[in-house]
Symmetry: C2
Subunit: 328 residues, 2 copies
């Protein structure tokens, strides 16, 4: 039984094939989504990755992770926030027509949650909430050992939980969403704004807020990213530390609220921002602990184990499940 796993990320495309039950890829291909990509070009690139992988062979089933909201019951993409042209694309039907095998499509956070549950940091846990903190903040549920997608496939959106109603405005129109405070691009933007309004001071003061950060990007503030912020924070930059503290606070607050609301066995955190080091994790855990009720004693918050491959391994699990369901 050969399973084909596809990952339509916002900026990259990946495909892998694997024998059911194996943890090693028989083949793996990836490509960057070009800057001017649209749904059509993404699909063409993915098709060429698949053909190079399969060499004409037919997989038993296909699982797909898509970076954006998906109606998981029909496998129809609602839209992508990164790539235009994905509005209402029936991705599941398209792939089933192309390859003639059972196919299942779900959004990346749900799929990554399934990947971590089946193959990663969530193995053996019946209930878990997976959170990815990266260019966006998303989440996916496993409850009673199965994905919980909600009535419209929208469950898991911790990124747009409001944790500070007087905080900065988010793209969604609300203030102080977790994503507004904790995602890489927003943190980078906030850092840039502070530095633009605070021209570098000279030697008279010993410590200058954001100086390390400025140095890392050679004064070209457009080069600041979440990753650069993490590096600056690790080197002791005050501004970077403040922003990462606020991100950890927002994430901890969100997780504590979720713990009170759902009381899952485990929280699994992935995505670039979670690589910001132990002090970031300390804040997340501390604030989550303070936000959760004392009776919620079970508050395990652990790093994801599969890293960037979580969606692709989750897509393997999706394909495996549908192959079993369809008895193919």
């Amino acid at each position: 039984m050969t399973l084909l796993a596809l990952d339509f990320g916002g900026t990259k495309l990946a495909a892998g094939i694997v024998n059911a039950g194996s943890r090693e890829w028989l083949g793996y291909e990836r490509a960057l989504s070009p800057a001017n990509a649209n749904a059509h070009t993404d699909l063409e690139i993915m098709r060429s990755l698949i053909h190079s992988l399969l060499q004409g062979a037919k997989p038993t089933a296909i699982g797909v992770s898509f970076g954006g909201p998906v109606d998981a019951t029909t496998g129809k993409v609602r839209l992508s926030h990164h790539v235009p042209g994905w509005e209402n694309v029936p991705l599941q039907d398209l792939l089933m027509e192309d390859f003639g095998v059972p196919t299942r499509v779900d959004n990346d956070a749900n799929v990554a949650a399934l990947g971590e549950h089946r193959f990663g940091a969530g193995q053996g846990y019946d209930s878990l909430f997976y959170v990815t903190v990266s260019t966006g903040v998303g989440g996916g549920w496993i409850l009673n050992g199965k994905p919980w997608r909600g009535t419209e496939g929208m469950a898991g959106e911790i990124g747009h939980m409001v944790v500070d109603p007087s905080g900065p405005v988010c793209l969604c129109g609300k203030r102080g969403c977790v994503e507004r405070l904790a995602s890489g691009p927003y943190m980078a933007r906030d850092a840039r704004e502070v530095l633009e309004n605070e021209p570098p001071r000279r030697k008279e003061s010993r410590e200058v807020r954001g100086e390390v950060l400025r140095g890392l990007v050679g004064d070209n503030l457009d080069l600041i990213t979440g990753k650069v912020l993490s590096e600056a924070a690790a080197t002791g930059d005050d501004l970077a530390r403040e922003l990462l503290y606020r991100a950890g606070w927002a994430l901890g607050m969100g997780i504590g609220n979720v713990a009170n609301l759902m009381n899952p066995q485990r929280f699994v955190l992935g995505g670039g921002v979670t690589k910001a080091g132990e002090s970031f994790w300390d804040i997340v855990r501390k604030v989550a602990r303070e936000t959760a009720l004392p009776e919620v004693m079970n508050l395990e918050i652990v790093p994801a184990a599969l890293g960037d491959d979580a969606p692709l391994w989750g897509a393997v699990a999706l394909a495996d499940d549908i192959a079993v369901d369809c008895n193919t």
Copy 2:
């Protein structure tokens, strides 16, 4: 098959018997919990209610709603926030010893959610979140048609979701919890504090904030309750309206966050505060809609149908389920 349903509320005790499948009580008894009640006196009063109901007959099963955290797997009460002496009382075991029939105990919010699901505003809905806004704010989940209690039975605690981190301090130690802003006693306390610091002005100004409220309690501020506040708001009292607006805002924010996180089919709201009138409901619905993502289109927020009887009818459902499970 006769089912015995018990409700240990914070201030009242109730018991009912019913034939399985029927919606009419064969017998129903209730009593107030005395001001100096403890676990022992509550149990004694409940036993006398039961004996008066059963007259020596034996029920097929017993379902129990308890007003406080319960370990639903063992039926052991953790504590009551209202009545002392309930710490670690094995209520399920005690009742099984007393009556020799299968018994199940769960906390009131979970049980009321089950009651609304089986007999009330949640009939036919596979996923719902029940919220009670009363002396406290609690919630209970139905997911995939079954109660979701979380790994330690603590799921549903929307009351201690932080919606305003710069808000007033809650008993739990955090600031701006939903319960701190929306529960009856806290609203009453906030009204008292405002009025104590704002002595009544005389005729010179036409409208005086809180004047209606003061009138309703004959200047005895200790008599202000959530109910009195609702009445004052309905009569146009500005202070009462402000506090109810803030309560509706907090509840709407909490519900919107939950919609993003779990995307259930329906929210069912009960408890005294939800009887505050249409303008309160309008705020709750408006803020919930603004807080939920636009892709979360399903955001039904409806009043509970069973009122104060939701826990007792939920206890009937608990008893029914355990009778079926035990094949008695």
